[in-house]
C-alpha cells in the first residue's frame, strides 16, 4: 500500500490563552488516502474543528501548544516556514467554513476574492483569473455566474454563498478539501444539494476531503470513512457502512440512538446520552466518556485513557469493554 496522502500522528493541541490550559485535542492519529473522504464527527467541543484547523496551522500559534506531526502530500506541515506555509494554504489544501457569510470578506465581491486567491498562487493575468473564476462558478452551478461574480456575499442566498465558498476553495486546484460543517447553516433541501455537489466534485477532481460535522446523516452522505471524536480523541474509526450498521464504541452507539429520524412515532422519547461533555481543562482519569457510559466498569475510571483496539474489518475503537458491544455479544445493551 502506498503512503497515505494525509498522515497525522499523535496530534495534540492545547490552548494556553486562558487561565487554565485547555487540551482541545489529545493525541489524534489519522490517515487519509488520496481521493478519500473522511468525516470527523462529534459534539461541539470534541476537538474536530481544531484538528482540522491544525492541518493548515490556522490555530492561533501564540496561544496554543501543538505536538505531534502532520504530513500532507510530502509536506511536513509543522516545519513549514511562513512563506512555504502561505503557498501550501489554498494551493495544496483549501477550506470551506460553516457560515459563508462570516467566512467571506464582506466588502469584496466574490469575483474579486476568487481572482485574488488565484493570482496569489499563480502568475496569471487578471482577465485569465476572472475567466477561471467564471468557470468555477459554472462548475458549482451558480445561476447567471457572470453577474454573480460581481455580487457581494450579503447579496446572495445561503446555499448560493456556500457554492461560491466551494468555488473559492477550489480556485487553486487543491488536492485536499477541509470542510468545517459546510451544511450546518443551510436549509435541509439545500444541504442535500451541497452534499451531492461535494461528492461529485470529490469524484471528478480526485479530491481528498476531511468533513467535520455533528450530523451523522450528512457524514454518511459524503464520507467513505468516519472517525468519531470525543473530548479531543478519536474514539472509533470505521468505514461509514460498518459504523452505521454496527457501532462499537458506547459513545457512537449513544450518538446513533440519539438521532431523530423520520420513522419515529410522534410522542416517542428520544434516546439521549446522559450527562454533559467533560471540561477539557479538567479531564477525568481513565476514559473521558466513562462518567456517561452505560457500560463503564471500575477499570474504565482508572489510570490512562484506554488504547485504540484494532477490530476486524480494519476498524478501531478506544474502549476497554469493546467485546461487550459486539453484535453477537450477550452483553449488548438492552434498549
Amino acid at each position: 500500500m502506498t503512503d497515505p496522502y494525509v498522515r497525522i500522528r499523535d496530534l495534540g493541541v492545547t490552548f494556553t490563552g486562558g487561565a487554565k490550559p485547555v487540551r482541545a485535542v489529545g493525541g489524534v492519529s489519522l490517515d487519509i488516502r488520496e481521493g478519500e473522504a473522511v468525516a470527523l464527527i462529534g459534539e461541539s467541543g470534541s476537538g474536530k474543528s481544531v484538528t482540522m484547523r491544525a492541518i493548515m496551522r490556522l490555530n492561533p500559534e501564540k496561544r496554543s501548544r501543538i505536538e505531534g506531526s502532520i504530513h500532507v502530500g510530502g509536506h511536513d506541515v509543522m516545519k513549514l516556514g511562513a512563506r512555504r506555509l502561505a503557498r501550501f494554504r489554498g494551493a495544496e489544501v483549501a477550506m470551506i467554513f460553516q457560515e459563508p457569510l462570516l467566512a467571506l470578506d464582506p466588502v469584496y465581491t466574490l469575483g474579486a476574492q476568487i481572482t485574488e486567491s488565484i493570482r496569489r498562487h499563480e502568475p496569471v493575468s487578471r482577465a485569465e483569473a476572472r475567466a477561471r473564476a467564471l468557470q468555477l462558478f459554472e462548475r458549482v452551478r451558480i445561476p447567471s455566474p457572470e453577474r454573480r461574480l460581481d455580487s457581494y456575499p450579503h447579496e446572495m442566498s445561503g446555499g448560493m454563498r456556500q457554492r461560491a465558498m466551494i468555488a473559492l476553495a477550489l480556485a487553486c486546484r487543491p488536492k485536499l478539501l477541509l470542510a468545517d460543517e459546510p451544511t450546518t447553516a443551510l436549509d435541509a433541501t439545500v444541504q442535500i444539494q451541497v452534499l451531492l455537489l461535494l461528492r461529485e466534485l470529490q469524484r471528478d477532481l480526485g479530491l481528498s476531503i476531511i468533513f467535520v460535522t455533528h450530523d451523522i446523516g450528512a457524514a454518511v452522505e459524503v464520507a467513505d470513512r468516519i472517525a468519531v471524536m470525543y473530548a479531543g480523541r478519536i474514539v472509533e474509526e470505521a468505514s461509514a457502512r460498518d459504523l452505521m450498521r454496527a457501532p462499537r464504541h458506547p459513545y457512537t452507539i449513544g450518538l446513533l440512538k440519539s438521532r431523530a429520524h423520520g420513522a419515529m412515532v410522534k410522542g416517542a422519547r428520544l434516546d439521549t446520552i446522559p450527562g454533559a461533555p467533560p471540561d477539557l481543562a479538567n479531564l477525568p482519569a481513565g476514559c473521558a466518556f466513562a462518567p456517561r457510559c452505560f457500560l463503564a466498569a471500575d477499570s474504565c475510571r482508572r489510570d490512562d485513557p484506554p488504547p485504540l483496539v484494532a477490530l476486524d474489518g480494519g476498524r478501531t475503537a478506544r474502549c476497554l469493554r469493546v467485546e461487550h458491544t459486539h453484535p453477537d455479544a450477550i452483553g449488548t445493551p438492552a434498549h
Binding site: 490556522l58 494554504r89 483549501a94 467554513f97 467566512a103 467571506l104 470578506d105 450579503h154
Partner: protein, 316 residues
Amino acid sequence: MLSYALRRIIYTAPVLLGVAVVCFALVHLAPGDPLISILPADASVELEERLRALYGFDRSYVEQFFLWLGRALQGDLGTSIASGRPVTTEVFRAVGNTLTLAAVATLIGFVLGCLFGFVAGYFANSPADKAASAAAVFGVSVPHYWLGMVLVIIFSAQLGWLPATGAGPGGSAQWRFDAEHLSYMILPALTMSVIPMGIIARTVRALVADILAQEFVIGLRARGLSEFGVFLHVVKNTAPTALAVMGVQLGYLLGGSILIETVFSWPGTGLLLNSAIFQRDLPLLQGTILVLALFFVILNLVVDVLQTALDPRIRR
C-alpha cells in the same frame, strides 16, 4: 449610486432651512441691543431710529427672518455692524483659514490615529497597545487650549523655534502655502489634532480588534494570503467607519475651534465668532453660524456618499 447621492443632496434642503431658523432665533433670543456698540453714548434718538431702520431691526422678527433668508439665498449675508464690510467677505476669508487649519489638523489626527489604532488593535493587550491607548486617552481628555499654551511656552517662548500667534508674518490674515506661513500653522494644527487623533485611534483599535476576531480573517489565511494581504483586507474593512468618524471630527473642528483660534489668534471663524459675540454684531454672527452649519451639512453628505462607495452593505 448617483441617485443615492442626488437623494442625499435633496434631503439636506430641509436640514439647512431648520439650521437657518435656529441660528436666526438663537441670535435674536440673546439679550442685548446690537446698536449699542456702534452708537456713541450721546447719540440722538433720531440717529438711533435711522440706524435701526437701516439694519431692519425695527421690523418684526418674522419679517426680519424672511428678508435675511431671501438675501442669504442670493449670497448676501448683510453688512457687519462693527466693520461695515459685507459679512460674506469676512466669513469666507475666515472660513478659508479655519478650513485649512481644521483640514491639516484632521489629517494629522487621522494619520496618527490610524497608526496608533492599527498598532493597538493588531497587538491588543501588548505593551505597544498600552502605549498607543494611553496616547489616545491623553488626546481625548487633555484640555486643548491648555495644551496650546504649554506648546507655545515650550516652542515659542523657551526654544523660540516657532511663532506663537497669527496665521502669517506681519499679522497676515490670508493663509498661503509657503514655508513662512506653514511655520505659523504647526503649533495650532498640532494642538487641534490631538482630539481627532484620540477618537480615531480608539475607534480604529476597536474596529481592528473586532475584524481580526471575525472568521473571514481565518478564511483569508486559509487561502494562503500573506500577513500583508490580510492587513489590506482589514484596512478596507476599517475604512468606511474610520472615514465617517474623521468626517464628523472635521466638522467639529470647523465649528468648535473658538478656543484654539483664540489662544493662537488664528484669523478663522472661531476668532470671528468670538468678536462678533462680544460686539453683538448680529449680521456677522448669523452669517458665520449659517456658513459653518452649511459646511457641516456638506461634510456629512460627502462622508455618507464616500462611505456608501466603500461599503457595499450600506447601499440601497
